[in-house]
């Protein structure tokens, strides 16, 4: 059990602060400002902005459900929009970027709250979560090498996935094998899933973010063993479930579950 100390430096808050540094063109928001002169941020801000927006575009296109979305057009729009911003000394940067980034921030904050909360609930977090440590290390590093550390991390927040949670660890399951099993069983015919480019079925629920969900099929607790069993034979666990029993082995089901947890956290 982790007891959160009051005033403990929470990564989410630190992140929010750092993002706003970039957002506000390097103007400090917080008093607890470890950086002396943020002028270097003023220089990198446009580049970061373009990078963020592009990544965000690509990320949103990848997960987009519509085949008709003009991905190129969006990307071009993002770039031209940013170029205009760069010229006008970030005049419109804030209004332009805030929604995108705020979303990212919210997602991240939700994530860390959720993991923290669940950890407490599950009673498994005897030691400090890997996520926590990781974030702290990053934060420390970015204090020392701010201009170097910030850029890739900013991109990372939007584009990449956070590391998998300990809670959702399945012994001996292989997420890579899970992807192969997903493809050979054709799960995509009904579900849109992270990392599966095609098909993105629309019959069953979207499985992006599954790791953060509390319930499976709105009924079962979201636990790895339950998930694996559900994947293999849903009607036996939830009578009346829309999902049929699938012709896969038990190991394959575990692999698929591992894959979904690995990919499915936002």
């Amino acid at each position: 059990m982790v007891k959160r100390e009051p005033g403990h430096w929470r990564p989410a808050v630190a992140w929010e602060w750092k993002l706003s540094v970039v957002l506000r063109d390097g103007l400090p928001l917080s008093r607890r400002q470890p950086l002396g002169n943020p002028s270097h941020l003023r220089v990198v801000a446009p580049a970061v902005g373009i990078g963020l927006k592009l990544t965000n575009q690509i990320a949103s296109v990848k997960s987009s459900q519509s085949w008709r979305t003009g991905a190129i057009a969006q990307t071009i729009h993002a770039v031209t929009g940013e170029t205009g911003v760069g010229r006008s000394r970030l005049g419109t940067a804030q209004s332009d970027q805030v929604p995108v980034l705020r979303q990212a921030i919210r997602r991240f904050a939700l994530y860390s709250c959720a993991t923290g909360g669940q950890r407490t609930q599950e009673g498994r977090g005897g030691k400090e979560g890997a996520t926590h440590q990781h974030m702290r290390a990053i934060a420390r590093r970015s204090c020392w090498f701010p201009s170097v550390g910030l850029l890739p991390l900013m991109l990372g927040v939007v584009a990449c996935k956070a590391p998998p949670d300990q809670r959702q660890f399945l012994p001996q399951a292989n997420a890579a094998q899970g992807k192969i099993a997903i493809e050979s069983a054709g799960c995509g015919a009904c579900h849109t899933m992270p990392g599966i480019r095609w098909p993105k079925g629309k019959v069953g629920p979207n499985l992006e973010g599954l790791a953060d969900r509390a319930l499976i099929a709105g009924v079962l607790p979201n636990r790895p063993d339950v998930l694996a069993a559900y994947i293999r034979n849903a009607p036996s666990l939830v009578p009346g479930s829309g999902m049929p029993a699938m012709p896969i082995t038990q190991n394959e089901a575990r692999d698929i579950a591992a894959y979904l947890y690995e990919q499915g956290g936002e």
Binding site: P199, K200, G201, G242
Partner: protein, 312 residues
């Protein structure tokens, strides 16, 4: 290492593809030799010693390299190529097994013919053939131009509206061979696959007999799925032998449960994918001709899928 080698064109599984594969190797060798000759001539022209340059620089060199050399190479190739063409288009004996394959936007209608040319077994997107025997395919089109191509068995031949092209394929040993529409036919042309399955001749006869017997009876006719198949309107486009469902716009579903794939060679075939396909095939194969059935409940989808699974 590299898994794509040998490529299907150079990995023939039957005599018709085999002779083309041999021709391909001859052509590659020819191309390599000619390219080498040109490159050597170019090298000598640019960097060779003076007397060699003089040789390459004369009119004789042009006559030799530009006229005589290609004339010899090409004539030899042409004679070989034409005789091969002739051999590959030998008149059809007429006693081979015949299958009519009709290209549709974006799937394949398959009809096995009897000796009189009558369609006796209907199927889609999958062709079963006996190994070791030539099979004649009658290629037709129902809408636009498609092209039938199973590279390991034969070259390709177009399916043209208003015409019937004949093609022979043969697999030496049992196996499964993939193919794909090769002529751009609009929309999801990229997702128009095809599978040929060659069986041991005895097994093949058994399979065909089973299918013929199957055509007379309705399978699972009293299930909820069967009723739904009728009431939800599936039967307007799809046919299932032995039942009232006799639509012809879409693929015949009499043997859908035994098919390797769904959606013309693109999805694995199981209850889950059947449900996904019926529920919203547009998310899987955009712009295909089947509308999404988003009104069906999960029970209904499940019932339909299990009914179809039973159609083997």
């Amino acid at each position: 290492m590299f898994n794509g080698w040998p490529p299907p064109v150079l990995d023939p599984a039957g005599p018709y593809a085999g002779s083309i594969s041999l021709l391909s190797w001859i052509l590659f060798a020819m191309a390599a030799v000619v390219l080498l000759v040109v490159l050597v001539a170019l090298y000598l022209a640019l960097f060779g010693r003076r007397e060699l340059q003089r040789k390459v620089g004369g009119k004789t060199a042009i006559w030799a390299g530009g006229v005589a050399f290609p004339l010899v190479v090409l004539t030899a190739l042409l004679v070989y190529g034409l005789s091969l063409t002739n051999h590959l288009s030998d008149p059809i004996r007429g006693d081979e097994m015949r299958v009519r394959i009709t290209g549709e936007m974006w799937w394949w209608r398959v009809a096995y013919l009897d000796a009189q040319g009558q369609e006796i077994i209907l199927d889609a997107n999958e062709l079963h053939i006996p190994a070791g025997q030539p099979v004649v395919l009658e290629l037709e089109s129902a809408d636009v131009i498609h092209s039938f191509w199973v590279p390991r068995l034969s070259g390709k031949l177009d399916m043209i509206p208003g015409r019937r092209n004949l093609m022979r394929i043969q697999a030496n040993t049992p196996g499964t061979f993939g193919g794909q529409c090769a002529e751009y036919c609009g929309g999801p042309h990229a997702l128009m696959g095809f599978t040929v399955i060659a069986h041991d001749p005895v097994q093949f006869t058994r399979l065909m007999e089973a299918r013929l017997a199957r055509a007379a009876i309705a399978v699972d006719a009293t299930s909820a799925g069967a009723r739904l198949f009728d009431t939800a309107g599936c039967s307007a486009c799809h046919r299932i032998a032995g039942t009232d469902a006799n639509g012809v716009a879409g693929p015949d579903l009499t043997h859908v449960g035994s098919r390797r794939t769904l959606g013309a060679g693109i999805l694995p075939n199981n209850r889950g994918t059947l449900m996904g396909w019926i529920g919203n095939s547009q998310a899987i194969k955009p712009n295909n001709r089947m509308p999404p059935y988003t009104l069906l409940s999960s029970e209904q989808l499940m019932a339909l899928a299990s009914y179809l699974e039973a159609q083997r």
